[in-house]
Amino acid sequence: MKVVVWLLIAVVLAGIAYSFSTCRSEQSGGRTELTMFDWDYAPYNKMNRQRIAAFEAENPDIKVRLVTGNNDKYLTMVTGGVPPDVAHNAYQNISYYAKRKCVLALDKFIADDKDFSLDAFFPATVKGMWYRDKIYALPDHGSPMVLFYNKNLFDEYNRNHPDQEPLTYPGRDWKWADFRRAAKALTQDRDGDGRIDVYGTTVGFSMNRFPAYIWQNGGEIISADKKRCMMDSPEAIEAIQWMYDILWVDKSAPTYFSQIEGASQQTHSIFFKEQHLAMMMTTRWAYEDLLKDGKLLTDFEWDVALLPKGSANRATVFIGGGWMISSKTPYPEKAWRLAKFLTNEYSSELSMLTGRGVAANRAVVERLVHHPGIPPEHDYVWVEIMADARPKDFDFLEMGADRQRALDEINYLSQGRRKPEEACRNFTRIFQKGLDTLWEKEGGP
């Protein structure tokens, strides 16, 4: 009896000890074990296992253990004192960890490594990896918005409306007015039951979408010194008014796709796939939903184009992520080798083929987006649009609930509960309060 009890206790204690021991990087059998963290998603896990196998083959002195999860898990690991040596995170989170010295500045590694150059990456992706005057991550991918469109629906409209000015496919000369006209024309209630069967487009009021229209119109969310919210400027109000009109005046976009929250995020592309949407402005992540039997959809003709141009320029929001190295890693040089490998051409190609946005590695993207005869025909717009991509400078600010409440104003607007000017002024008031509180607490930007 006694033996059984002690055995039981020993097993429990051994289990606890093992669970703690496996969290740490270690050196065993002459090989250093590094932990690598990435989002927990089956296709990414498969991709990462391939990357790890290739890395280990090149670096026999290193063994990589993959840990997967989301930012909550990563944060918990860092807080718990067992941070992964190399970790992927969304670019807007990088400053949070950099500011608290949880990750290493990579400037010295970059300067010392003759085989590595930041010039290999799209500048927008690199820009998102900085905090103040240092770079804290290597860019993995980005995902700016472009315009997806269903060619068949354009053709159908032209066939059915010979008396109207024909709709041209979206191209680089398209402006807001062209887009709005096409969206309105393509919206159809085919059976006359009062329910829209095909919407012309979607309008995104999320923080990952609407800033693009404001930038396109020459406006800004915050001033260059990050001290003043500028959402009440005429340029910003005009851009928001344009979005609002598509939604509530023309009714050429479903109001329920315009929300900020998660429910609507993935469904745009499904509706596009089902031909309930003629156009959508979204990121390359949508390709994942447009797959059929592992290949991009060919049930109907579709393509991608640059965003329509606003009065000022063709800006788009940069969303993406990068690889950080923990400041607690006992093996910074080996961690650097791993981080570097994860952004090289081999890893980037895998990432791109897995559907993780647009790889940050320019050469890879340029190679993969040219595929004559295979749709989408203008896939190379992903390269072109990178020149217009901008990280959201306001996303680095730790404003908590004030940021959320400011966004709610845009949300109310998208539901028709606020007029554009009112929403923009409310947004500015709430956001400014958050900015003032933040800079008061932190002593300035």
Binding site: D72, Y256, G262
Partner: protein
């Protein structure tokens, strides 16, 4: 004498063995439950962003909480000392509204249990079917509900649309003109007004056929048939038999379900908000549980999150004590 000593030794050994057997559980409880609870209490008096050492701020978090309109704002009465907030409703109100599903869920569970308590062929199949939502993966059902609730193409609006059209047709017979369904159809999860009813509807679907129904089935099977027979002989009708026999006899179960639902209701709404709405639109589906999460993991205000959690604990504690007191009059342990 010797025999007594042996018995004592045996009892001691048995007790020791017992303690040793529960030791892993107790250790686990102490390490993974008690310590975090204690830590959260301490943290509620601190400011902590998780990555820098906590700073002691005394009662500041609780003072902030008392003036936090995100938490308290409600459509019924103004609280003079709360700070202004653009939200239509605070998160306590959201939580309470979503808890309106509790009485309906209890009654529906009892109703289902009564139906499934019949001795009919294939009843096991029905019991299984009604219990399925409880064992189906939450994320899967939530994603499914997101499609069911799609304003244009969801089944929910399709069904309601037909009902509405029929009513509109009848209204037109007496000269009333109703707006078309396309104009008035709810946008459910994407509308501030309809998001909470959508959550309630989904919650009811998940809870009425779940564990509560099983508990009621067990309780119903324990009601002595003789009581019903005697009542029938005395001329009691079906309603009287339910109200005078079934309801009192299952009242301990009802009490248990009610107390647990209240506790669960105050803590609930996190999964739905996290997966389906991110607490929106405009905070309309943010419950206290999700607000705690937002503060802790999105805004890195762990101390404030802990103070909200402790206020939630106090609310639940007081309500549970009230429930216990009320139970003395309302629950029959026959």
């Amino acid at each position: 004498m010797k025999k007594t000593k042996t018995a004592t030794t045996w009892r001691r050994r048995a007790a020791l063995a017992g303690y040793l057997f529960i030791l892993p559980n107790v250790l686990g409880f102490l390490i993974f439950t008690s310590l975090p609870v204690l830590a959260s209490l301490l943290l509620s008096f601190a400011k902590w962003d998780l990555l820098r050492p906590p700073q002691w701020v005394g009662l500041q978090n609780f003072q902030n909480l008392l003036t936090d309109a995100h938490f308290w704002k409600n459509p019924f009465f103004a609280i003079p000392w709360i700070t202004d907030c653009p939200l239509e409703h605070g998160f306590l109100f959201n939580t309470l509204v979503m808890m309106l599903a509790i009485p309906a869920s209890i009654l529906l569970s009892l109703f289902l249990a009564a139906l499934l308590n019949q001795k009919l062929r294939g009843m096991i199949l029905f019991r299984t079917l009604f219990f399925l939502p409880s064992i189906t993966a939450g994320i899967g059902t939530m994603l499914l509900w997101m499609w069911l609730l799609n304003p244009d193409y969801g089944i929910v609006n399709l069904v309601f649309g037909h009902v509405y059209d029929a009513l509109a047709w009848m209204a037109s017979l007496v000269g009333w003109t109703w707006a078309s369904w396309a104009q008035v159809r709810p946008a459910w999860l994407q509308d501030v007004t309809w998001s909470k009813p959508a959550m309630i509807m989904m919650g009811l679907w998940g809870s009425m056929g779940g564990m509560n129904m099983i508990l009621y089935l067990a309780a119903l099977s324990n009601v002595p048939p003789a009581l019903y027979e005697a009542a029938k002989i005395d001329g009691a009708g079906a309603w009287q038999r339910f109200w005078k026999i079934t309801w009192p006899m299952v009242s301990p179960t009802t009490f248990f379900i009610f107390v647990m639902s209240i506790i669960g209701g105050f803590q609930g709404g996190f999964q739905q908000a996290h997966i389906m709405t991110n607490g929106g639109p405009a905070g309309s589906t943010t419950t206290i549980g999700f607000y705690i999460y937002q503060n802790a993991y999105q805004w890195f205000r762990m101390g404030y999150a802990a103070s909200v959690a402790w206020l939630l604990f106090l609310i639940v504690l007081v309500l549970t004590l009230i429930n216990w007191r009320a139970s003395k009059r309302l629950v029959h342990y026959g």
